[in-house]
């Protein structure tokens, strides 16, 4: 090992801040999607409209009684008013009788 005679001696502090977010539990999962109401949330980017249409087809093939509330009914979840839009979401989902949510698109 190389010795550095003029390398000094330092006691260096941790440069990061402490995390402020405690781990939270996810919502309980559904046992079955048949007959359930699924909301589509979209940030209006990256072809989400096409993906949601295909997902509806794929999910309906397996769960004939599944229902969807379109992304068109919610507006974008990403934009300069994101904080307000997200704050209003829980009440809106409850009012619409939603059971589960599909959210996109991270690309």
């Amino acid at each position: 090992m190389t010795t550095h005679s003029n390398d000094g001696y330092f006691e260096a502090y941790w440069p990061r801040g402490e995390r402020q977010q405690k781990t939270r539990a996810l919502a309980p999962r559904l046992t079955d999607l048949d007959g359930k109401v699924v909301a589509q949330l979209w940030d209006y980017l990256f072809k989400g409209d096409e993906v949601f249409a295909l997902l509806e087809e794929g999910l309906r093939a397996r769960y004939p009684n599944i229902r969807f509330i379109s992304w068109r009914d919610f507006g974008s979840t990403h934009g300069d008013d994101e904080k307000e839009a997200l704050a209003a979401l829980p009440a809106r989902l409850k009012a619409l009788g939603v059971d589960a949510v599909i959210s996109g698109m991270a690309c």
Partner: protein
């Protein structure tokens, strides 16, 4: 998107988050900061932007659908977060090279050597503030870590700043934590970087370069404070490449741009700090994120009418896809920046033009045909279900964007003349300019007054 999912999960709704392949690592890292490290991700193979309709159909039906079902019906076990040091823990002891190896290995540094943040060095920085080291200036996403005065000093030391820069560093973190700025977007794929603009007498007090080469490294305060900002994004906000920082390309940090306040004052114009709401002689930092830009060489002409068309044209050329923020997506938050050299500003002002006159000219002349505007976003970028007419008719954007059905009608790239920001700096005797493409609400301009300690004058005198 994950923030929306986290809100839903917290309210009791199970979610599936549609995530392209390249975003899985970022999503996993971001979910820790959201307090839900096991949030459910549904894979979209590859990237959505380059798939044929047939490939997209196959991938969604064969892969994503099954993942969505699993996400909504099965809970993923949470992985235990790794234990971390406490806020004021010493994490390594040793020589300069050993400290640097440790910091690099633990992703605390940017790859260049850092100055070891020791108790003595941190204490020197704390002399230049009256704030408590434990004071929390904000909580920064995506890691949701506490931005304390202490961590400002630590990262300032590491960046090679001098202790007397501490008041500026604190103001910068206050700006970074301001919700209007949107620090949480700093890891997006366009990979923009923040430009810090500085105004006030502190420019001369601390020896910033505010003339020739104003945006080049080479002056300690300009360079090291720019580096500090990037280190703070890394260590406290938590933006790390290959994890939470998804810059497709990215670039090195920008050095601080100190405006030429002397010239601005002589012209009777306002500087950027004043436009952020502060007094003309206040020391102010203003930050905004820019996705790119470039220089305009030899902006020629003896009148504003001759000089400004080149500037207007360049603002259009450099702010191409960024016009998405002018539509309903960004709600008019695009704020392009033009930095003009003093001789250009002086020539314009000699004709009796104010900065507002320049902004009005740019608003009227930095325009493009509506069909070009729509082609950029609808056909070339990511907004397949959108057009200007729909935005205007639904009162989402100003009427100026749809005054007729003529596809050749000229539309602006911002909502208001004052959305164009104009700074004055660089070589006083060269007629060049620099245009920045703005990232809008993903780095909106925010200014903060730099608070000085009560014995600032004495402390500065002692340095001389």
């Amino acid at each position: 998107m994950l923030r929306a999912s986290a809100v839903c999960e917290a309210a009791g709704f199970p979610t599936a988050s549609l995530t392209c392949e390249g975003f899985f690592k970022q999503a996993a890292a971001t979910s820790i900061g959201l307090g839900m490290p096991n949030i459910a991700l549904a894979l979209v193979p590859g990237h959505i932007g380059t798939k044929s309709p047939a490939q997209l159909r196959q991938d969604v039906l064969e892969v994503t659908t099954a993942a969505v079902i699993a996400n909504l019906t099965q809970i993923t076990q949470s992985t235990n977060a790794l234990a971390e040091p406490a806020a004021k823990d010493i994490v390594v002891r040793g020589g300069f090279q050993a400290v640097n190896r440790y910091f690099y290995a633990h992703e605390y540094s940017d790859g260049l050597p850092i100055v070891p943040p020791t108790a003595e060095a941190i204490a020197a920085f704390m002399r230049f503030t009256d704030r408590d080291p434990n004071e929390v200036l904000g909580v920064l996403l995506p890691d949701r870590r506490a931005a304390t005065v202490w961590t400002v000093a630590v990262n300032g030391v590491m960046a090679g700043c001098l202790p007397e820069y501490m008041p500026i560093l604190i103001a910068l973190v206050e700006a970074m934590a301001d919700p209007r700025y949107g620090v949480e977007h700093s890891g997006n794929t366009p990979g923009g970087d923040t430009l810090i603009i500085l105004n006030g007498p502190i420019i001369k007090t601390l020896g910033f370069n505010y003339t020739q080469g104003a945006m080049r490294d080479g002056f300690l305060p300009n360079t090291s404070i720019g580096r500090f900002f990037r280190l703070y994004l890394r260590n406290v906000a938590g933006f790390l490449l290959h994890k939470t920082d998804k810059a497709t390309f990215g670039n090195t940090w920008r050095v601080v741009l100190a405006e030429n306040d002397d010239v601005i004052k002589d012209l009777g114009w306002s500087n950027i700090g004043t436009e952020m709401g502060f007094a003309a002689d206040d020391n102010v930092v203003t930050i905004a994120r820019y996705t790119g830009g470039g220089s305009l060489s030899s902006v020629s002409g003896s009148t504003p009418e001759l000089l400004l068309p080149y500037l207007a044209d360049s603002l259009l050329r450099f702010n191409n896809w960024q016009i998405t923020f002018t539509t309903s997506h960004g709600h008019g938050t695009l704020r392009p920046l033009a930095v003009i050299s003093p001789i250009i500003a002086q020539t314009i002002a000699q004709a009796g033009w104010s900065k507002a006159d320049v902004q009005q000219f740019l608003f009227e002349h930095a325009r493009m045909p509506a069909w070009v505007f729509e082609r950029q976003l609808r056909d070339w970028n990511i907004r397949g279900v959108w057009d200007l007419k729909d935005d205007v008719l639904n009162d989402r954007i100003p009427k100026v964007f749809y005054e007729s059905d003529d596809p050749n009608r000229m539309v602006p790239i911002v909502w208001r003349p004052e959305d164009f920001m104009i700074a004055v700096g660089g070589d006083p005797m060269r007629n060049n300019a620099y245009v920045f493409a703005h990232n809008a609400f993903l780095g909106y301009p925010v200014g903060k007054r730099i608070g000085l300690p009560k014995d600032w004058d004495r402390l500065i005198t002692e340095l001389k």
